[in-house]
Symmetry: C2
Subunit: 109 residues, 2 copies
């Protein structure tokens, strides 16, 4: 049993953040996301049917949640209820930004 | 909506790690644990009815999982199936060691 590492370099695709599922079960899914200058395309918003707990572990990002800009630095975490519109407005182009996102059934919170 | 931070200093109790639940739902629970030199008492083991996904975010620790010593450094993560005996053998006394632990029903994995 050898640990893996959340900060392992991710394959870079300029068009798309890297995404992998670390744990999954009835009612939840834990994803690791690695951004590198990626942002949600202009005019697009996430409107998820699930609640989301999201943490930024390294790097830097700005989220837009409804009309609020939120700066995320290492360790920042937030709860975004299902159907609250949000987008990734900016991530640092000079380094990897590593996220954990835990999705759950909205009735679960 | 203001983010909280995983690296916020935790109240120190020499007898017990700091523990708080960050998210919880049907079939899962996400805890933040802060150790500061804490270890599982001599001769004691965890034997959990749940699967556990555990990550070390900062600090340093050694886990003992059955008869294997596992060094955990920032970013290290592991999956520990339900009923696999494990203990925290050592955590750094000179700084906080911050963990995330996600517990889930074993059937869920």
């Amino acid at each position: 049993m050898k640990p893996e590492n959340l900060f392992t370099e991710a394959p870079f695709n300029p068009d798309k953040e890297f995404l992998e599922t670390l744990a999954e079960g009835t009612g939840f899914k834990l994803n690791r996301i690695v951004s590198h200058g990626h942002r949600t395309p202009e005019g697009q918003w996430y409107n998820e049917p699930k609640d989301e707990w999201v943490a930024l572990l390294s790097g830097k990002a700005t989220l837009l949640i409804e009309d609020k800009e939120i700066d995320m630095t290492p360790g920042s975490y937030l709860f975004i209820p299902a159907h609250v519109e949000h987008r990734v407005e900016w991530t640092d182009e000079t380094c990897e930004t590593v996220w954990l996102a835990l999705y759950a059934e909205p009735s679960a919170q």
